[in-house]
Symmetry: C2
Subunit: 218 residues, 2 copies
DNA sequence: ACCTATTTTTAGTTTACTCTAAATATTTAT
DNA sequence: ATAAATATTTAGAGTAAACTAAAAATAGGT
């Protein structure tokens, strides 16, 4: 597996290519910041290796083994992110770029021991679940804050957007994973929300609410 | 800097290319397990970038900036080795291959924080000194065990050969860095040594003694 | 159903790195 | 000093990954 092949598998997975619905060449190109013609080349190569299903003009989806590999790369990426935050004092908006490099290091022992050092974490710093070694991928029940009903309460469990701009906004406004959020008011005009986070109240725009995942309290 | 360029700089440094004596194309090719013609190509490329001095048929030596870069790569390699041994329970014969990959990760913060996490170690698991961030390279006074005088005592501070075969031999014979070694007898016939390590006595061949570094007790 | 717009693929190039084989320079031995 | 051996460079070619531009297939709108 070359680094490039690994990145394609990861991109296809993130675009939903693990289901039977195939992903379009264009979509992959955009995600990878490359050109569609390059995607076609790689699609053929990965199909040769039995990692994707590919038929001309029909898009690409991952095979069983493609999914396995994609998950193992995502596992590495997210474990490294936890390491960077927990052990090396990175903030959650700094980890992505470095984890993109670290995820390609080849050593089974390395990742097993890292997992142990970190205490077998279930989620990365952005609240995304970490695939288990055996390929189990524990998707969590969650919904966007923007979809919460008036008056309902939830725990903040993840972010959709992981840009520095957004993550810094959350830091500045003292909104962190694990915080309890209650929807106090919903503004019809611009869909902004008045929320209570811990014992602090504030207004947030729809765009913010549409990028924060919460788990509803039952 | 590509990965390949970094590997060439490191190899040239290890062959002594930081002094004015240039290193031959063949020597570099052997060290890198590649062909002399590939070395010539890279020598031209690195010379273009001002990282090596190169004249046709005259060999290669590192420039100031080449040395700086080589040291920064060696620093990363050795810090990662310490990390693998101290934090991830690797044994000293397992670290090299993984560190070869990790040394190419690009992030200044990563390596600074790693250094801090490890408590600013001065030596790697094989006793080799770790270059400081500012480029200082604290070469330690040391000599080969095979060169020690009869009856003299020293502390084991490093290994020359870092192959698994050799490192495992040391583990099996309970010889570790930091142990005090005394030369009890020198055999003229085959230059083997009878030594005392801690309170254990054993015979070692010349080949073993010629791959163990000691620091003489004054 | 047909024409147009969009998407996807093909064909041909480029860059970085490597190799083999042949040519050239240097070193060594007599 | 010169021939033989060795070391080094050049030339040409291969591979992986990317790109551009042109061709081909698909999808949408009427």
């Amino acid at each position: 597996m070359t680094r490039s092949e690994e990145n394609y598998l990861k991109a296809i997975f993130h675009l939903g290519g693990s289901s039977t619905t195939p992903i379009s060449t264009n979509a992959i190109a955009e995600q990878m910041e490359t050109k569609p013609s390059s995607v076609t080349d790689m699609a053929k190569k990965l199909a040769e290796k039995g990692l994707v299903n590919y038929k001309k003009y029909q898009g690409v989806s991952l095979t069983e083994s493609g999914i396995k590999l994609a998950l193992s790369i995502i596992r590495k990426h997210r474990l490294w992110e936890v390491f960077l935050v927990e052990k090396l004092n990175f903030s959650w908006d700094e980890v992505h770029e470095v984890a993109e490099q670290l995820e390609h290091i080849k050593s089974e022992k390395l990742i097993d021991q890292l997992d142990t050092l970190l205490g077998h974490p279930k989620y990365d710093p952005h609240g995304d679940p970490i695939p288990a070694k055996d390929g189990t991928f524990p998707e969590q029940e969650k919904q966007l804050l923007s979809e919460m009903l008036l008056g309902s309460k939830g725990v903040c469990v993840g972010v959709k957007d992981t840009s520095s701009a957004f993550l810094n906004f959350l830091d500045r406004n003292k909104i962190a994973l694990g915080d309890t959020i209650e929807v106090m008011e919903k503004e019809d005009f611009d869909q902004s929300l008045h929320i209570k986070v811990g014992n602090q109240e504030l207004n947030i725009s729809h765009q913010i609410a549409a990028n924060l995942y919460v788990k509803i309290q039952v």
